[in-house]
């Protein structure tokens, strides 16, 4: 007889108490269900809320740069070169934050530069995450030679100074936005590989993975549905930290002339250009792009910090 045709009340005498879902009192102290704790800790923190609002605003500005920016960022108006900000008596509309040495609008450069920064930040981190996840996951699952090979490659990658790697890359392939993104992606994969491999090593010993093997699941199912999904938290946390780091790196490389081409509006380039006239009194061309970069990175960092605390309660105690 098949067990599937058996009647419903096989073990009704063993039945446990009737089920009722836990009641939540969201704003009270009594009980907050796990799925709402994230939202709760978020709403109760005004700093994070402000940072997130600002971040959304910055992303919005960057996405709609061509509508938001007052003038074309690359347009050079030599008559209006080194115009101070609008609140100075020599200020001219529409150059609200002044112009640089060649008469390019600082505000428009910042707005378009934000777009580049965010593009680089998200794509470089995304690509390095995909590479690192794949390599770390297979290394932790397969073990043996493959793991040794990957992890030694990680060691080599982490020991190379990024500026040198970027310099070599740019010399060989030339400059460009997507080349820049690829350089930063290559620089970042190693941390992902190391993190993912570490979590996979601990998760693969869990009983549900053992039991997945015993149920006859294949290696791909186990890798994706068991190991990968359960190591998402540290990956999210790492990504939140990596995005601002990559944005700063892009600005740094552009500042050094190793980043995007000079015809691309970038915050790093704007700082570099303003820097040349910084000590002759035209402070605005360098300071405002710097402040914008600081604001962007600070907002991402605050939100990322909150995310890390919320997802990993233990990290709060370890500080």
């Amino acid at each position: 007889m098949s067990i599937h045709s058996a009647s419903a009340n096989t073990a009704s005498h063993l039945a446990e108490a009737p089920y009722s879902p836990p009641r939540a009192r969201f704003w009270g102290f009594e009980y907050i269900p796990a799925e709402r704790q994230l939202l709760h800790s978020f709403l109760s923190n005004w700093l994070v809320l402000g940072a997130l609002a600002m971040l959304i605003l910055l992303v919005f500005i960057a996405v709609f740069a061509h509508w938001v920016a007052p003038v074309d960022p690359l347009e050079q108006t030599l008559k209006a070169r080194l115009t101070p900000p609008i609140w100075n008596e020599r200020g001219i509309s529409p150059y609200y934050l002044g112009t640089d040495r060649l008469g390019r609008d600082v505000l428009s450069n910042i707005i378009y530069g934000l777009r580049i920064s965010l593009l680089v930040g998200f794509f470089a981190v995304g690509i390095s995450m995909i590479i690192g996840l794949t390599l770390g996951l297979t290394a932790g699952y397969k073990r043996g030679f493959w793991e040794t090979f990957i992890m030694r490659a990680v060691d080599v990658q982490l020991s190379l100074p990024l500026i040198m790697v970027a310099l070599c890359f740019m010399v060989i392939f030339g400059q460009g936005l997507w080349k820049m993104i690829i350089v930063l992606a290559i620089a970042g994969w190693a941390e992902y590989a190391r993190t993912v491999r570490g979590t996979v090593l601990s998760i693969r010993e869990k009983e549900y993975v053992e039991s997945a093997h015993a149920l006859g699941f294949g290696p791909w199912t186990i890798m994706v549905k068991y190991l990968l999904i359960n190591s998402i938290t540290p990956v999210l946390v790492l990504s939140a930290v990596q995005v601002p780091r990559v944005i700063i790196l892009e600005a740094t490389l552009s500042f050094l002339g190793l980043g995007v081409p000079v015809t691309t509006p970038s915050i790093g380039l704007a700082i570099a250009r303003g820097y040349q006239v910084l000590f002759s009194g035209s402070w605005w061309a360098s300071i405002f792009p710097g402040l914008a970069l600081m604001l962007l990175v600070a907002c991402i960092n605050i939100v990322a910090d909150w995310l890390r605390d919320a997802l990993e309660p233990r990290s709060r105690e370890q500080v």
Partner: protein, 325 residues
């Protein structure tokens, strides 16, 4: 009864830095259809390794299959390729584990997890598989299965999770269920329910059970035959009545003596003197002689073979022969 599984001379060694651990060293046993065989022994005696080896779940390396066969439905399980053995796992032979709290993937609903095993082995579509998952939950006595099937493991108690595990393991009508300490982590009251459920379902599909435990009470409750293991070898094997009433191996007798009895003032609790020897540095002769009260000189020199003292009662002890029973 028909023979379902015959294991002959199974040897699993682990190669570690300190040397070679002979975790399972020449184990022979068989399981008949519909029968429950209990395996008892102290921690590290090789009972789990034996069970996991049957499904090729031992990581190799560091493990090594040194020798032996496991004949199941006319084929040798130990020689299957990885694709073949995966078709057996969870389908013809299922396994449930000790720790129900962590045996389910925390990020998927239980319906999803049961359904996935059914989809894999029975080729049903996801909707049919979920229907079947509901049936299985009902069968293992989970109230309101239609709602439970959409819940996550953390919403279930330990006993319920073990029921889900059993449901998952039995969803493809296996011929053999390997239960590795299925009740150790549960409350005593829930233990009895789970054992009862397993025996109940066993009768329904005429399934065999290999029950691994160090709890002699569980063995007395469920097993037809008992295998006692020590240091990777079988020291005694007999039907459950003989094991409890006429144990012949000194280890079995000391094991039984060390079970505390309720309501009986025994004074000090009994224990077996000494500790389990290092598996990579076993004493010569009988593995048990350093701890054995009845050890003779011959026990230090020669390793005893497993001999039939009576029909169906096998003992590996030099001293048991003279004792008869």
């Amino acid at each position: 009864m028909d023979r379902l599984l015959t294991v002959r001379d199974l040897k699993i060694y682990f190669h570690i830095l300190a040397g070679t651990v002979r975790a399972v060293d020449g184990v022979d046993f068989h399981i008949d259809q519909g029968e429950t065989v209990g395996v008892v022994g102290e921690s590290g005696c090789g009972k789990s390794v034996t069970a996991m080896a049957l499904l090729q779940l031992i990581p190799m390396p560091p493990g090594e299959l040194v020798g032996g066969t496991a004949e199941f439905e006319g084929m040798d399980l130990l020689r299957f390729g990885s694709d073949q053995i995966r078709k057996v796992r969870g389908n013809r032979i299922s396994m449930i584990f000790q720790e129900p709290m962590t045996s389910l993937n925390p990020v998927f609903t239980i319906g999803n997890q049961i359904g996935e095993a059914i989809e894999l082995h029975q080729g049903l579509n996801p909707r049919q598989a979920e229907e079947k998952a509901v049936e299985m939950l009902d069968l293992v006595g989970i109230p309101d299965p239609r709602r439970r099937v959409k819940e996550y493991p953390h919403q279930l108690s330990g006993g319920m999770r073990q029921r889900v595990m059993i449901g998952m393991a039995l969803s493809c009508n296996p011929a053999l269920l390997i239960a590795d300490e299925p009740t150790t982590a549960l409350d005593v009251t829930v233990q009895a329910q789970i054992l009862e459920l397993m025996l109940d379902l066993q009768k329904k599909i005429n399934m065999s059970i290999l029950m691994i435990t160090h709890n002699l009470g569980v063995i007395a409750e469920v097993a037809n035959r008992v295998i006692v293991m020590y240091c990777g070898k079988i020291v005694e094997s007999a039907d459950v009545h003989s094991i409890f009433h006429q144990p012949m191996h000194p280890y079995t007798r000391q094991l039984l003596a060390s079970v505390p009895h309720l309501g009986v003032d025994q004074g000090r609790l009994q224990e077996i003197p000494g500790a389990v020897p290092n598996l990579y540095n076993l004493p010569p002769g009988c593995d048990f002689h350093p701890r054995c009260a009845e050890a003779a000189e011959s026990c230090q020199r020669r390793r005893p073979e497993l001999n039939a003292m009576k029909p169906g009662h096998w003992v590996a002890c030099h001293r048991a022969a003279g004792r008869g029973a």
